[in-house]
């Protein structure tokens, strides 16, 4: 075949492909700006749906919805919800993967018509089924698209009283673009009031999670209020730090009592001997992170005038951390308790945590050695090699570095660290989610992939660092344009956190929403709350709140 003939064939191929693509996009697309064509009215009790009816839209839709809600309320005592159907489109594929990929998580529901009967799986249903939280894992890559088709088919088949095979053979599926009318979707603005409410809710969640023995309900599934296994001392210590900060801010007796229990647990049974010093952890190998965040939590409490009897523990923990420091400022991150020597291995976070903790502890120990050690560590953290990819600290996760910058600025200012944090925040801003048509509520969040709901904790850690950087940037006279961009990132990121905190969240699908209030879930579709999620989110929220309060009204 001559090149000219090949070229002609190629043009035909491209034209046909273009037409097919445009047709596919047109057929599958939905318009989410439309008025509701109909509404799905449901009533939930104890996290289970008890009643449902579809109400047509148009004029008097509001009245029809009220009637439906009242009717359900007479029959069932529970929480009424209304989900508006804005638009719909066909589902073209029935293979599990492509069917699942045909829906936007937390925005789309499923309608199936079978033998003249219609069943729905709305956003609430799919959240309750955990059908949106459906990762496909390929080695280190976590890939997530849409919904878990098998779970949804099973639920719809059960609802219609048919087998899944029958449903798939005879059912006609459509995608529904949904929006909550009742309860309305949260859209709080970032103000001192909303920040205070959200920050204290996160603190109260943690306070409720502290058991009588000072340990936490570590990881809880918000839907069933059930606990997952596992415990982690650095996270216990980090959560206690934030609980201390929020409890001292609120001067709430219940929160203060809870944080004292959690702190006494740290300074009690979690305290061990590491050579000449004491450290926090368990087992034969102590990690620096537990002691650093433990030191941070205890220092916060003592700074706030609580538990002054813990001062000797604070001094000893600070001495232990200093003893782990190398001459170049880096820390050895582990201590072998059987052979009594530090282990010169580095992992993420611990050096930043140690720098920050020593800086904060120095406010109560008044020991210049703590400040010097912290300053050396901070300098080491921001003196990275030219080939940054090879550096063992990951650029996307060094929030503790910016906390250390903020903590030390008045006593040991480090401009290189400020530049590091400003550059990092520019990167955070540039790689954040902006303008996702189906989910505009994700604006400002840290992306976990283009079609995937964002990871809330990733956003939270970046925001706490952003808030810390913002305070220093204002003092250090950073250019107005850079400040403005940083501020915009903080406003958008914190706005996202305000929208996704369980404050109160989708209470209709939870067994015990009161226990979960203030919890911060893993993602908007995975409502698992681990103690460090509200800690990171709360730290950013309360940090910005304090800045706004210092600035005063206007």
């Amino acid at each position: 075949m001559s090149p000219r003939a090949l070229g002609r064939l190629f043009s035909v191929y491209l034209a046909a492909l273009l037409v097919l693509c445009l047709m596919l996009q047109k057929v599958l697309g939905v318009d989410r700006s439309r008025a509701a064509g109909r509404s799905i009215v449901s009533t939930w009790a104890g996290g289970v749906r008890r009643a449902r009816v579809a109400v047509p839209g148009g004029e008097d839709a509001g009245a029809r919805i009220r009637v439906a809600l009242d009717d359900q309320a007479r029959r069932v005592r529970g929480i009424g919800t209304v989900e508006d159907v804005l638009d719909d489109s066909p589902v073209l594929f029935k293979s599990s993967f492509l069917f699942g990929a045909s829906f936007v998580p937390a925005r789309d529901g499923v309608e199936v018509t079978y033998d003249g009967r219609v069943a729905y799986a709305t956003i609430d249903d799919l959240l309750a089924l955990k059908a949106y939280d459906h990762p496909l894992v390929f080695g280190p890559i976590r890939f997530q698209l849409g919904i878990d088709a098998d779970v949804v088919w099973e639920a719809l088949a059960k609802e219609l009283g048919v087998s899944v095979a029958d449903l798939l053979e005879h059912g006609r599926f459509r995608r529904l673009a949904l929006r909550h009318r009742v309860p309305p979707e949260p859209a709080p603005k970032v103000t001192a009031d909303t920040l205070r409410d959200a920050a204290l809710a996160a603190g109260r969640y943690l306070a409720r999670a502290v058991r009588a023995d000072g340990s936490y309900r570590y990881e809880v599934n918000a839907l069933g209020n059930t606990e997952n296994e596992g415990y982690n001392w650095p996270r216990h210590a980090g959560a206690t730090w934030y609980l201390a900060e929020s409890a001292l801010y609120a001067q709430d007796p219940a929160m203060l009592a809870a944080v004292e229990r959690a702190a006494q647990r740290l300074a009690g049974s979690a305290l061990m001997t590491c050579g000449a010093h004491r450290c926090i952890g368990e087992g034969d190998r102590a990690d620096l992170g537990s002691s650093a965040l433990g030191l941070l939590a205890l220092s916060e409490l003592v700074l706030g005038g609580r538990l002054p009897e813990l001062m000797p523990v604070i001094s000893d923990l600070a001495a232990f951390i200093r003893s782990q420091q190398r001459p170049d400022g880096e820390f050895m991150h582990f201590y072998d308790r059987t052979e009594n020597h530090p282990v010169d291995v580095q992992v993420l976070y611990y050096t930043g945590e140690a720098a920050f903790a020593l800086g904060r502890a120095a406010r109560v120990t008044h020991d210049q050695k703590d400040v010097d050690a912290a300053a050396r560590a901070l300098d080491r953290l921001v003196t990275y090699p030219a080939w940054y990819v090879g550096w063992h600290y990951f650029y996307g996760a060094e929030h503790w570095t910016c906390h250390a910058l903020d903590e030390l600025w008045e006593r040991a200012p480090n401009r290189k660290a400020l530049r590091f944090c400003l550059d990092w925040q520019a990167f955070v801003y540039d790689t954040a989610i902006w303008g996702r048509e189906a989910s505009p509520e994700y604006d400002g969040a840290t992306s976990a992939g283009p079609f995937v709901p964002p990871a809330i904790v990733g956003t939270a850690t970046r925001m706490e660092a952003a808030v810390a950087t913002l305070r220093v940037a204002k003092i250090a006279g950073v250019s107005a344009s850079e400040l403005e961009r940083l501020q915009a990132g903080v406003d958008a990121g914190l706005g996202f956190l305000l929208r996704t905190e369980l404050n109160p969240g989708p209470t209709q699908i939870m067994v015990n929403p009161g226990m979960m209030r203030g919890g911060v879930p893993n993602t908007p579709v995975d409502l698992t709350v681990r103690i460090d999620y509200p800690q990171h989110a709360g730290t950013g929220l309360i940090g910005y709140l304090k800045q706004l309060e210092r600035r005063g009204p206007g």
Binding site: P3, L6, Y13, L17, L20, C21, L22, L24, Q25, K26, V27, L28, G29, V30, R32, S89, S95, S96, F97, L98, A101, S102, F103, V104, L136, F138, F143, G146, R175, T431, I433, W434, G435, R436, E437, A438, S447, G449, P450, F451
Partner: protein, 166 residues
């Protein structure tokens, strides 16, 4: 001169044969890693995964058949490449229909995948087929020129005059 040019062409043939093994390897990994099994995709990609090493082996083992083997290999790769491009564009259209505008991150990711894939499955086989076509034409021309240069001189009647002096 002709010998140098021949050896250079042979070297190019071997490079193309080796080059064809790279996409074959990538396609093998892709075939294995696909999250869903769909027999048309398995057949098309599996055929390419088999055809490319076989044609490369022919280039190494049967030099006389090199050009034909490379032409088959390049064509198979181009067809599979165009199928992959079609699948990628249809996937983007599908995701765009489902998600609407999915933001700068999605566009960047798609562009990155496109730039990583296109050189191997479209640009490379097109270049390979173009090279084969060009050298086929050159070969044809050389053959024509060769045919002219070695052709017997036109027959001229030679007559023995018997040493006669005019």
């Amino acid at each position: 001169m002709l010998r140098v040019s021949k050896s250079r062409e042979r070297r190019s043939e071997i490079l193309f044969a080796l080059g064809n093994l790279v996409p074959a390897l990538v396609l093998t990994v892709g075939l294995y890693a696909l999250p869903v099994r769909w027999w048309p995709a398995d057949v098309v990609v599996g055929s390419a995964v088999l055809a490319l090493p076989v044609t490369s082996a022919i280039v190494f083992g049967r030099p006389a058949l090199s050009r034909q083997a490379l032409r088959v290999g390049g064509s198979v790769l181009l067809v599979v490449g165009l199928a992959i491009v079609a699948a990628a564009l249809l996937s983007i259209a599908f995701l765009s229909g489902i998600h609407g505008d999915f933001g700068q991150g999605g566009v960047t990711l798609m562009a990155l995948i496109g730039f990583l894939v296109l050189p191997y499955v479209v640009v490379y086989p097109v270049f390979e087929l173009w090279w084969l076509d060009r050298h086929r034409q050159q070969g044809d021309r050389r053959a024509e020129v060769g045919a002219v240069s070695v052709a017997p001189a036109p027959a001229v009647e030679s007559r023995d005059d018997g040493g006669a002096i005019a």
